[in-house]
Amino acid sequence: MTNVLLDVKAISKNFGGVQAVSLVDFDVRKGEIVALIGPNGAGKSTVLNMISGVVPPTQGEIYFEERLMANVPGSQYAGLGITRTFQNLQTFDDMTVLENVMVGCHSRTQSGLLACGLKLGQARREEVDMHHRALQWLEIVGLSSVANTLAGNLPYGMLRLMEIARAMVSEPKLLLLDEPAAGLNHTETADMTNMLKRIRANGTAILLVEHDMDMVMNAADRIVVLDQGEKIAEGTPAQIQESPEVIAAYLGTEEVMQTRGESVG
């Protein structure tokens, strides 16, 4: 039981009468990659937003390390060890790549307005430390050569990597990724998959929302499938590939009948 990092219990989300998510349960254990998949509009991003504290669930509870997250303000999630990236990138375009990643250190540092303005010892030490850590993560994701470039001048694929560095620099226990492969080409996706495995090897668990099945099947330890706001399946990649409900959700029931018919015939 202590192995469970994130425990999602029967969460629902209602957007003004539209049931986006209903009664979804699953958990994420330490050091594993869980993928959340499903057709468009299945409620995957909504689930991720609820887990990262961006929107509160209408019903149900989310526990992180056995702590109820309902009343924790969004700005404290990073300090507790949950960080995320965004499907439509949320980068700080007018800052350099290095500065972007240094913002990620915010939850691990304390110096306030006065300390920063007067450059007191604490602020100075933290600044050096942040600089060092951010460079380290830029090295890991392979962006150290563009550290001093403005983020706004970077191509899409690099910005995705930068968002990961920014989320990882605070060394979270759980990393939430919203479609990290969106807009990436084949090689970039393969690189990204390797990156996820490296992050897992480092001890950070990942919850991944993704459409790219190559990445999901290759990286995920377990998969949770949503359809129209409900969980319809959960299991290992092999189990999910076989699951008739999942195939039905993705292809529609009629086609499944046809493929079945063919395989029988």
């Binding site: 504290g53 961006v54 969004g74 949320q90 700080f92 007018d94 306030g112 307005l113």
Partner: protein, 337 residues
């Protein structure tokens, strides 16, 4: 020597030299008073630049904090006989408290709504200063506010005192810019959601930016009161707030040096208009408002990033081109050899 230059940066040394020798370049009471006014305005605009350019929170009521600061110090030292030093301290703290309360009340507002709320605040303060006659002297204002005499009571000593404060405010703000707090300000400007997920308390960051800019404006106000010696509510209204915004926008909102450059530019234009109005009869009245409005529109249309960032980008471009040219020349030489 070289290490000092490196540590402070050539720009900063140039600034210091300019500030120090300015009174000797144009040694004339009039120019000195212009220098003092520019310094007073610069303290406000540097703070406004932190609030608007970095944290992305617009304030059309900055002159109100300036006014609160001015009256705080004036009332304390004139009516209650406290030494101006205490008055000046209070003129930083009281506007800071006002900024804190205002920011707490309106922290959830964005864009137009925030602009409207700060505009309303500006009006309320100006009306308050005018109507609270028993304390502020109402529309007639206050007279015989004691001068600051820390380095003698000459205009020159006042000039150096004020520019010493400007320099402190500038260093403080430049430190903030390149720090955790400054990055948090810039982060909430771009994306509040992303900032929150990085662990930045958006509300607290906004409060910090408002309080800091309010305090800077207050300090400037206190100095203004003691410099002028007389005070009335007229300069602390919308007109002045817009002028502060124009200064910040012209210089470049994202640059603290920009706020300084914008202040120098706008105040110089202002003085020039006054000089010209003596020769050209049509220039009397509120011509400055029209001119500043036109400048603001021009800058927003053709140079939205402002003067300093534009010049910096141009400089970088020229440098890159030169480097490229030098590189290709070298390459040519190599191939020839």
């Amino acid at each position: 020597m070289r290490s000092i230059v490196k540590k402070l940066g050539i720009g900063f040394i140039f600034y210091l030299l300019l500030v120090i020798i300015f009174p000797f370049l144009l040694s004339n009471e009039y120019y000195l008073s212009v220098g003092i006014v520019i310094g007073l305005h610069a303290i406000v605009t540097v703070g406004l630049c932190l609030l608007m350019g970095l944290a992305g929170q617009i304030s059309i009521g900055q002159a109100a904090f300036w006014g609160i600061g001015a009256y705080t110090s004036a009332v304390l030292s004139t009516k209650y006989g406290l030494p101006p030093a205490i008055g000046l301290l209070a003129s930083a703290i009281i506007p800071g408290i006002f900024a804190f309360l205002l920011a707490r009340a309106i922290a959830g507002l964005q864009g137009y709504y925030l602009a409207m709320a700060t505009l309303a605040f500006g009006y309320i303060v100006q009306i308050g200063l005018t109507e609270w006659e028993s304390v502020t002297g109402g529309a007639n204002g206050m007279i015989s506010i004691p001068k600051l005499q820390y380095f003698g009571d000459s205009e020159l000593s006042m000039y150096y005192l004020i520019w010493a404060v400007v320099t402190c405010v500038l260093i403080f703000s430049l430190n903030i810019l390149k720090s955790r707090v400054g990055r948090a300000f810039r982060a909430i400007h771009k994306s509040e959601i992303a900032a929150t997920t990085m662990g930045i308390d958006v509300r607290q960051a906004k409060l910090g930016a408002f309080v800091l800019s309010g305090m800077f404006a207050g300090i400037s106000g206190g100095l203004y009161a003691h410099y002028m010696g007389i005070l009335d509510p007229q300069p602390f209204g919308l007109h002045e707030s817009i002028k502060f915004i124009t200064m910040v926008v012209v210089g470049g909102m994202t640059s603290i040096w920009g706020a300084l450059v914008g202040t120098v530019l706008i105040d110089s234009i202002n003085e020039m208009l006054i000089l010209l109005s003596e020769y050209i009869p049509g220039l009397q009245g509120d011509v400055d408002t029209i001119v500043f409005g036109a400048i603001l529109v021009f800058i927003i249309m053709f140079m939205p990033e402002g003067l300093v960032p534009r010049c910096r980008a141009f400089y970088e471009k020229v440098k890159a081109k030169k480097r490229k040219a030098a590189g290709s020349q070298q390459a040519e030489r190599k191939t020839v050899a």
